[in-house]
Amino acid sequence: MTENIIEVRDLVKHYPVTRGVVFKKTIGHVKAVDGVSFELKAGETLGVVGESGCGKSTLARVLMNLERPTAGQVLYKGQDISKLSGGALRRLRRQIQLVMQDPYTSLNPRMTVGDLIGEPFEIHPDVAPRGSRRTKVKELLDLVGLNPEHINRYPHQFSGGQRQRIGIARALALRPEVIVCDEPVSALDVSIQAQVMNLLEKLQAEFGLSYVFIAHDLSVVRHLSDRVAVMYLGKMVEIGTEDEIYERPTHPYTQALLSAVPVPDPTLRESKAIIRLQGDVPSPVSPPSGCRFRTRCWKAQDVCAQEVPLLQIRPGSDHPSACHFAEKREIVATHEVA
C-alpha cells in the first residue's frame, strides 16, 4: 500500500455572484466544486476529466492553494494546506507545483528563460545557492529537451511546444513531489503534444513525481493516467483505475462522454455504440436537485431528482460511481488486433 501524498476531503469552492457596484449584494453562488473527495498516491498519475465548467480548473487552483476552499480540506501528507501561512506555506509550495495550459500567456514576455526558470530559486534560496543557479537552470533546460545555450532568449523566440517545456522546467526547478498539470497539452499540435506527453512520462519515472493531470481530452488522459476521476458540474461522478473507467464505466455521464470521443479509425464508424446527450450543461449557479446529471440522463427516475447519489461502490461494479442506476456498459470499441 503506497502512502497518500494528497488527500482531498469534501472539498467545496463557491464563488459569490454579486449585483450592484456600490452596494454589492450577493445574489447566489457559482458552485464550482461542490463536495469532492479523492486521494493521490505517491508516484501515481490521477487524471481528472470533464467538460468545461465542471470545476476541474478550480480544483487545480485549490490544490495549489491559490484559492482557499469554502469548506472541506486538502491534506498534504496529513497536513491541512489551507490552514498554513508564512514560512510553513512557503515550504509547502515547494512541494506542489503547477504547469499551466497556455504556454503563451503563462510566461512573462519580458523575462529571459533563465530568469523565468530561475525565479523559484529567488523565493527558495535554500534550494540552490546564488552561485549555482545558472548551472541549475541549464541542467533543467537540458532535462526538458531544450538547448541550454538558449538561456538568455525570451519566450517569443520559442514555439508553443518549447514554451510548454519551459513551463515544465520551471515547475521542476524546486524538485516538487506533486505537479498539477492543468491542460498541459491542449494548446499544442498533435505531433508536439506527443513529445510533451513523453517528456512528462520520462520525468515522472526519473523523479518519482505524482501528477494530477487535468484535461478534457480523454485519449490523452488515458494514455498518461493510472487512475481517472470524472467530474460533472462540480461533483465527481466516477473514479477508478484507467481500466475501470475506460473499459467498464458505470456512470451514464462517463459512458456518454466516452462514446462521444471520435476514434481515429474509420473502420469503426458503424460499429461504435454512440450515446448522444441532449442539451447543454446546466448553470453551476443553480444546479439541478438530486443528481446533477439527471436533466440530460436517459435513465433518470423520480429518485434522481430527490436524492443525491453518493460516490460509492455499487453492486455489480468494482469502483465508485455516483449513480443510482450504475451499471456496466461496453463503450470503447476495443481495437481488434489484426
Partner: protein, 342 residues
C-alpha cells in the same frame, strides 16, 4: 515547377465539371520580417455531397486556403501569387468583387471555429440570419423573420421563436455554433467550408454538432470542406482527406486507405503520435523536431529535417504530388515503398 499530375490528370483536364477546385494555389504573406510562403501550390477539389477533410497542424496553410477560396484573405499582408480557385469551372480569383459577392453565401459559405467572435455582438442572432434574406432575397421584414426562425429550427435550437431575439452572448457555445451553421446555410450554399467547427467545443457537444452537419449535408447534397487537426473527427466523417504540410498537400487519399496505409511519412508520423482511447499505449512515437519556419522552408522536401526516411534526394528535389491510383496521391519520393510495404 508545376504539378501536372494533380487530380483531374485522368485526361479530363481543366474545368472537368467539378463543383469547386483549387488549382496550384500560391499565397504569400509579406511582412516586415520577410516573405512567408504560406501556400505553395495547393490543389484539391470537392464535389457535391462529399466531405473533403483538410488535415494539418497550425501553420500548414489549411485555413489560409479556405480564406482565399472565400475571398476573405487579409490583403496585405496576404497576396495570391498564383493558381486558380474555380467554382463551376470559373476562376473566382479573376472575378469582379460583385461577382464574387454573389457566390459567397449562395455558392460557398463558411463557418468558423470561434463562434463568439464570428457573430456580431450588438445584433440579435435572429437579425443576423434574417438580414441575408432581406438583402439577398429581397424579402420583407416579417417573411425574413419567419425564414430565420425556420433556419434556427432546422439546426435544432430549442424554442427557436423565443431565441430569435437573443444576443450571441446569451447562447451557449454549442448553440452559437448552431446559430452560425443556420446563418451559413440560410442561402442554401452548394459548398460549405467548416474551419475547425468543433475545436472550441466539449466532446459531447462536438458530437451533436458533427451529427447535425452530417445530416444537413446529406439533405442538401452539399459539398463540404472540413478543416481540422483532429484525426478522430476526420475518421468519423470524411470521405476523402488531404493532408497539408508547410503550405502543400503532401498526401491525398480515401479515408479508409489513409488510415490503413498512409503513403507519406508525415501522415504516418501523425497517426503514430496520437494517443488512442481504445489502446493503452506505451511511449508515443513522435515526429521529431518542429514544423518549418515559412519564411525559410528547407530546400527539397519541406518535411526532410523531421523525416525518419530522409535520403540525400529529399534535400535536393521537391517531391511532386504523384498519383498512385485509386485517387491516392503522395508527395514523397518513397511513396511507392510506403504503400507497398506490409
Amino acid at each position: 515547377m508545376s504539378e501536372q499530375s494533380a487530380p483531374g490528370a485522368d485526361g479530363s483536364g481543366r474545368s472537368s465539371g467539378r463543383l469547386l477546385e483549387v488549382d496550384d494555389l500560391r499565397v504569400e504573406f509579406r511582412t516586415r520580417d520577410g516573405v512567408a510562403k504560406v501556400i505553395n501550390g495547393v490543389t484539391y477539389h470537392v464535389d457535391a455531397g462529399e466531405t473533403l477533410a483538410v488535415l494539418g497542424e497550425s501553420g500548414s496553410g489549411k485555413s489560409v486556403t479556405a480564406q482565399t477560396i472565400m475571398g476573405i484573405l487579409d490583403t496585405p499582408p496576404g497576396f495570391v501569387t498564383g493558381g486558380q480557385v474555380r467554382f463551376h469551372g470559373k476562376d473566382m480569383l479573376t472575378m469582379s468583387p460583385e461577382q464574387r459577392r454573389r457566390i459567397r453565401g449562395e455558392g460557398i459559405a463558411m463557418i468558423f471555429q470561434d463562434s463568439l467572435s464570428a457573430l456580431n455582438p450588438v445584433f440579435t442572432v435572429g437579425f443576423q440570419i434574417a438580414e441575408q434574406f432581406r438583402i439577398r432575397r429581397g424579402m420583407s421584414r416579417s417573411d425574413a423573420k419567419k425564414r430565420a426562425i425556420e433556419m434556427l429550427d432546422q439546426v435544432k435550437i430549442p424554442n427557436a421563436k423565443g431565441r430569435f431575439s437573443n444576443y450571441p452572448h446569451q447562447f451557449s457555445g454549442g448553440m452559437r455554433q448552431r446559430a452560425m451553421i443556420a446563418m451559413s446555410l440560410a442561402l442554401d450554399p452548394e459548398v460549405l467550408i467548416a474551419d475547425e467547427p468543433t475545436t472550441a467545443l466539449d466532446v459531447t457537444v462536438q458530437a451533436q454538432i458533427m451529427d447535425l452537419l452530417g445530416e444537413l449535408q446529406r439533405e442538401r447534397q452539399m459539398g463540404m470542406i472540413l478543416i481540422t487537426h483532429d484525426l478522430g473527427v476526420v475518421a468519423d466523417v470524411a470521405d476523402r482527406i488531404a493532408v497539408m504540410y508547410a503550405g502543400r498537400i503532401v498526401e491525398e487519399a480515401d479515408v479508409y486507405d489513409l488510415y490503413r496505409k498512409p503513403a507519406h511519412p508525415y501522415t504516418l508520423g501523425l497517426l503514430n503520435s496520437i494517443p488512442r482511447m481504445d489502446e493503452k499505449g506505451q511511449e508515443l512515437r513522435t515526429i521529431k523536431g518542429l514544423p518549418p519556419n515559412l519564411m525559410n522552408i528547407p530546400p527539397g522536401c519541406a518535411f526532410n529535417p523531421r523525416c525518419p526516411m530522409a535520403q540525400p534526394v529529399c534535400l535536393e528535389k521537391v517531391p511532386p504530388l504523384l498519383q498512385l491510383g485509386n485517387g491516392r496521391a503522395s508527395a514523397c519520393h518513397f511513396a511507392e515503398e510506403l504503400v507497398n510495404r506490409d
